[in-house]
Protein backbone atom coordinates (compact mmCIF):
# COMPACT_ATOMS: atom_id res chain seq x y z
CA UNK A 1 0.00 0.00 0.00
CA UNK A 2 2.76 2.41 0.99
CA UNK A 3 4.63 1.48 -2.15
CA UNK A 4 1.50 2.22 -4.24
CA UNK A 5 1.14 5.63 -2.61
CA UNK A 6 4.79 6.32 -3.25
CA UNK A 7 4.40 5.49 -6.95
CA UNK A 8 1.26 7.67 -7.24
CA UNK A 9 3.09 10.52 -5.53
CA UNK A 10 6.03 10.16 -7.87
CA UNK A 11 3.78 10.19 -10.96
CA UNK A 12 1.90 13.28 -9.75
CA UNK A 13 5.18 15.05 -9.00
CA UNK A 14 6.41 14.24 -12.52
CA UNK A 15 3.24 15.72 -14.03
CA UNK A 16 3.79 18.83 -11.94
CA UNK A 17 7.34 19.18 -13.22
CA UNK A 18 6.19 18.71 -16.80
CA UNK A 19 3.62 21.49 -16.41
CA UNK A 20 6.17 23.70 -14.77
CA UNK A 21 8.39 23.27 -17.79
CA UNK A 22 5.75 24.69 -20.08
CA UNK A 23 5.14 27.79 -17.93
CA UNK A 24 4.26 30.67 -20.11
CA UNK A 25 1.95 28.71 -22.37
CA UNK A 26 -1.60 27.58 -21.90
CA UNK A 27 -2.16 23.86 -21.62
CA UNK A 28 1.09 23.04 -23.34
CA UNK A 29 0.05 24.87 -26.54
CA UNK A 30 3.18 26.77 -27.52
CA UNK A 31 1.21 29.11 -29.79
CA UNK A 32 -1.08 30.28 -27.03
CA UNK A 33 -0.62 33.68 -25.42
CA UNK A 34 1.91 33.55 -22.57
CA UNK A 35 0.55 33.55 -19.06
CA UNK A 36 1.71 36.42 -16.90
CA UNK A 37 4.84 35.52 -14.94
CA UNK A 38 3.35 36.55 -11.60
CA UNK A 39 1.68 39.40 -9.80
CA UNK A 40 2.69 42.81 -11.13
CA UNK A 41 5.35 44.75 -9.25
CA UNK A 42 4.36 47.94 -7.48
CA UNK A 43 5.95 49.95 -10.25
CA UNK A 44 3.97 48.07 -12.90
CA UNK A 45 0.79 48.72 -10.94
CA UNK A 46 1.59 52.43 -10.69
CA UNK A 47 2.50 52.63 -14.39
CA UNK A 48 -0.62 50.79 -15.51
CA UNK A 49 -2.92 52.64 -13.15
CA UNK A 50 -1.73 56.04 -14.35
CA UNK A 51 -1.32 54.85 -17.95
CA UNK A 52 2.22 56.23 -18.12
CA UNK A 53 4.11 56.70 -21.37
CA UNK A 54 7.56 55.19 -21.87
CA UNK A 55 9.31 58.46 -20.95
CA UNK A 56 7.07 59.00 -17.95
CA UNK A 57 7.79 55.47 -16.74
CA UNK A 58 11.49 56.20 -16.81
CA UNK A 59 11.06 59.48 -14.95
CA UNK A 60 8.70 58.03 -12.33
CA UNK A 61 11.02 55.06 -11.73
CA UNK A 62 13.89 57.48 -11.09
CA UNK A 63 11.74 59.55 -8.72
CA UNK A 64 10.76 56.46 -6.74
CA UNK A 65 14.32 55.08 -6.66
CA UNK A 66 15.68 58.43 -5.46
CA UNK A 67 13.01 58.69 -2.77
CA UNK A 68 13.75 55.13 -1.66
CA UNK A 69 17.43 56.05 -1.24
CA UNK A 70 16.43 59.06 0.82
CA UNK A 71 14.12 56.86 2.91
CA UNK A 72 16.81 54.31 3.83
CA UNK A 73 18.34 56.13 6.83
CA UNK A 74 14.90 57.24 7.93
CA UNK A 75 13.64 53.66 7.90
CA UNK A 76 16.52 52.55 10.11
CA UNK A 77 15.88 55.42 12.51
CA UNK A 78 12.18 54.55 12.64
CA UNK A 79 13.04 50.98 13.55
CA UNK A 80 15.40 52.10 16.29
CA UNK A 81 12.82 54.58 17.60
CA UNK A 82 10.24 51.80 17.88
CA UNK A 83 12.71 49.62 19.75
CA UNK A 84 13.32 52.55 22.10
CA UNK A 85 9.60 52.75 22.86
CA UNK A 86 9.53 49.02 23.63
CA UNK A 87 12.70 49.33 25.71
CA UNK A 88 11.05 52.06 27.78
CA UNK A 89 8.01 49.86 28.36
CA UNK A 90 10.23 46.90 29.19
CA UNK A 91 12.22 49.01 31.67
CA UNK A 92 8.92 50.01 33.30
CA UNK A 93 9.58 53.70 32.66
CA UNK A 94 6.90 56.24 33.48
CA UNK A 95 4.34 57.59 31.03
CA UNK A 96 6.37 60.75 30.47
CA UNK A 97 9.37 58.84 29.26
CA UNK A 98 7.28 56.52 27.10
CA UNK A 99 5.49 59.52 25.57
CA UNK A 100 8.84 61.12 24.88
CA UNK A 101 9.90 58.01 22.96
CA UNK A 102 6.57 57.95 21.08
CA UNK A 103 6.97 61.62 20.15
CA UNK A 104 10.51 61.02 18.88
CA UNK A 105 9.13 58.23 16.73
CA UNK A 106 6.29 60.44 15.50
CA UNK A 107 8.76 63.06 14.27
CA UNK A 108 10.47 60.45 12.11
CA UNK A 109 7.15 59.00 10.93
CA UNK A 110 6.10 62.49 9.85
CA UNK A 111 9.31 62.87 7.86
CA UNK A 112 8.63 59.57 6.12
CA UNK A 113 5.05 60.65 5.33
CA UNK A 114 6.43 63.90 3.95
CA UNK A 115 8.77 61.99 1.68
CA UNK A 116 5.93 59.79 0.41
CA UNK A 117 3.63 62.74 -0.24
CA UNK A 118 6.34 64.81 -1.92
CA UNK A 119 7.19 61.89 -4.18
CA UNK A 120 3.55 61.57 -5.16
CA UNK A 121 3.42 65.30 -5.84
CA UNK A 122 6.42 64.98 -8.19
CA UNK A 123 4.79 62.08 -10.02
CA UNK A 124 1.53 64.03 -10.28
CA UNK A 125 3.31 67.06 -11.74
CA UNK A 126 4.67 64.87 -14.51
CA UNK A 127 1.21 63.65 -15.59
CA UNK A 128 -0.69 65.09 -18.55
CA UNK A 129 -4.21 66.48 -18.16
CA UNK A 130 -5.95 63.23 -19.11
CA UNK A 131 -3.89 61.27 -16.59
CA UNK A 132 -4.53 63.89 -13.91
CA UNK A 133 -8.27 63.65 -14.58
CA UNK A 134 -8.23 59.91 -13.81
CA UNK A 135 -9.41 60.30 -10.23
CA UNK A 136 -9.55 56.59 -9.41
CA UNK A 137 -6.04 55.98 -10.70
CA UNK A 138 -4.67 59.03 -8.94
CA UNK A 139 -6.31 58.05 -5.64
CA UNK A 140 -5.11 54.48 -5.94
CA UNK A 141 -1.51 55.50 -6.52
CA UNK A 142 -1.72 58.02 -3.69
CA UNK A 143 -2.92 55.24 -1.37
CA UNK A 144 -0.06 53.03 -2.59
CA UNK A 145 2.45 55.67 -1.52
CA UNK A 146 1.70 55.00 2.15
CA UNK A 147 4.59 52.97 3.56
CA UNK A 148 5.94 52.43 0.04
CA UNK A 149 9.49 52.93 1.30
CA UNK A 150 9.05 50.91 4.46
CA UNK A 151 10.79 47.90 2.96
CA UNK A 152 14.33 47.57 1.65
CA UNK A 153 13.16 47.26 -1.95
CA UNK A 154 10.11 49.45 -2.49
CA UNK A 155 9.19 47.61 -5.68
CA UNK A 156 8.81 44.23 -3.97
CA UNK A 157 6.36 43.03 -1.34
Amino acid sequence: MIRKLFVIGFVLASVGFAQGGSRGSKGGDMNAAPMPAGPPTKFETISNTLNLTKDQKKAVKTMLDDAAKEATPLRDQLSKARISIADAIQAKKGDDEINQAVNAYAVLATQMSGLEINTFAKIYTDLDETQKANKNGRDMVFAMMKNLFATKNWNED
Binding site: T72, R75, D76, L78, S79, R82, I83, I85, A86, D87, I89, Q90, I98, V102, Y105, A106, A109, M112, S113, A143, K146, N147, A150, T151, K152, N153, D157
Partner: protein, 54 residues
Protein backbone atom coordinates in the same frame (compact mmCIF):
# COMPACT_ATOMS: atom_id res chain seq x y z
CA UNK B 1 -2.06 55.21 15.85
CA UNK B 2 1.36 54.61 17.42
CA UNK B 3 -0.21 55.40 20.80
CA UNK B 4 -2.75 52.62 20.25
CA UNK B 5 0.01 50.21 19.26
CA UNK B 6 1.89 51.16 22.44
CA UNK B 7 -1.18 50.53 24.60
CA UNK B 8 -1.75 47.15 22.92
CA UNK B 9 1.91 46.26 23.36
CA UNK B 10 1.81 47.24 27.04
CA UNK B 11 -1.15 44.91 27.57
CA UNK B 12 0.56 42.08 25.73
CA UNK B 13 3.82 42.70 27.56
CA UNK B 14 2.02 42.51 30.90
CA UNK B 15 0.88 38.99 30.02
CA UNK B 16 4.38 37.72 29.30
CA UNK B 17 6.41 35.61 31.67
CA UNK B 18 9.93 36.82 32.45
CA UNK B 19 11.44 34.26 30.09
CA UNK B 20 9.27 35.56 27.24
CA UNK B 21 10.24 39.21 27.39
CA UNK B 22 13.76 39.08 25.95
CA UNK B 23 12.71 39.75 22.36
CA UNK B 24 9.64 41.83 23.13
CA UNK B 25 11.11 45.04 21.64
CA UNK B 26 11.58 43.28 18.29
CA UNK B 27 7.98 42.09 18.48
CA UNK B 28 6.89 45.68 18.96
CA UNK B 29 8.85 46.64 15.85
CA UNK B 30 6.91 43.97 13.95
CA UNK B 31 3.67 45.43 15.23
CA UNK B 32 4.20 48.59 13.18
CA UNK B 33 1.01 49.26 11.25
CA UNK B 34 -0.74 46.20 12.64
CA UNK B 35 -3.86 48.24 13.39
CA UNK B 36 -3.84 49.88 9.98
CA UNK B 37 -5.69 47.67 7.47
CA UNK B 38 -3.92 49.39 4.56
CA UNK B 39 -0.52 48.14 5.67
CA UNK B 40 -1.30 44.70 7.08
CA UNK B 41 -0.17 41.88 4.86
CA UNK B 42 2.39 43.81 2.91
CA UNK B 43 4.97 41.27 3.82
CA UNK B 44 8.09 41.33 5.87
CA UNK B 45 10.29 44.24 5.15
CA UNK B 46 13.95 44.85 5.30
CA UNK B 47 15.78 46.92 7.81
CA UNK B 48 13.99 45.34 10.70
CA UNK B 49 10.67 47.01 10.01
CA UNK B 50 8.25 44.18 9.82
CA UNK B 51 5.06 45.29 8.18
CA UNK B 52 6.27 48.69 7.40
CA UNK B 53 3.45 50.56 8.99
CA UNK B 54 3.83 53.60 11.14
Amino acid sequence: MTGLEVKAFQKIYALLKPNQTARAPEAFDLMAGILDPATVGRGMGGGGRGRGGR
